[in-house]
């Protein structure tokens, strides 16, 4: 993929996640901060379909943005054909693992497998 396209994805994921993370944080302020983190409240959050969709979107957007950012930092430090490929594929694998792990929590909690 062209670096210019990757940067557009980087900026797009940044802007989209700013809005969604703001909603995610505001949800913690709807009741008191500590109350919003109680087991019942968190479970209720996970069982609301719109909220779960939003959490999954945040997970994907931030994983893509975060690991691409890490890739950019690592490529600034050192260059080379093998190194660049290792960094790029390593970041993609780490991103997929993180999305998989986070999605597992979201799906299992939403389906009541707690």
């Amino acid at each position: 993929m062209k670096e210019s396209t990757i940067m557009k994805i980087h900026y797009g994921t940044a802007l989209a996640s700013v809005g969604l993370v703001a909603v995610h944080i505001l949800m913690r302020l709807t009741t008191g901060f500590a109350d919003s983190l109680s087991y019942e409240n968190v479970l209720a959050n996970y069982q609301s379909i719109p909220y779960v969709v939003m959490l999954e979107l945040i997970l994907i957007l931030l994983a893509v943005h975060g690991f691409n950012g890490l890739r950019v930092i690592l490529l600034e430090l050192k260059q080379g054909r093998v190194y660049e490929k290792a960094v790029s594929y390593g970041c993609v694998v780490a991103m997929i693992v993180l999305i998989g792990y986070g999605s597992r929590t979201i799906i299992m909690t939403n389906m009541g497998m707690v």
Binding site: V18, L77, L98
Partner: protein
Amino acid sequence: MTQDENKEGVKGMVNPGRYGIERIAYLLMRLTGLGLLGYFIAHIYETSNILRGRMGWDDFLAMTQTTEGHIFLVLVIGMCVFHTGNGIRIMMGHGGVGVGKPARPDYPYDPASQNYRHKIGIYSSIVLAAVAMMYGMAVMFGE
């Protein structure tokens, strides 16, 4: 000097001197980015504790709902707000907003893009981060 000897590596990247506030913003952007990625991974792991049931969730929550945990979250808020504010400034700069008009390069060759608009953007991001941190402290320690 060979090309290898001229490479400063991480030392060059983390040296905030020589180039003014823009260089400090560059360093802070990377530090906050790495910090937020670390927090994001930890947060995914933290929330997965809900799968351990009420006991697992409450046990893990007790570990984070401490003074140290709250101070850590305040730092995360600061990193998040600075990274967002400065990130928007960078995006606008890449889009050609606020970088000045093209002109003939004359001595002392001041870069047109490093102008007061972008400096205000950097300082505003730092101030916003400080305000958000204070608000976060009021919410978390005010209960």
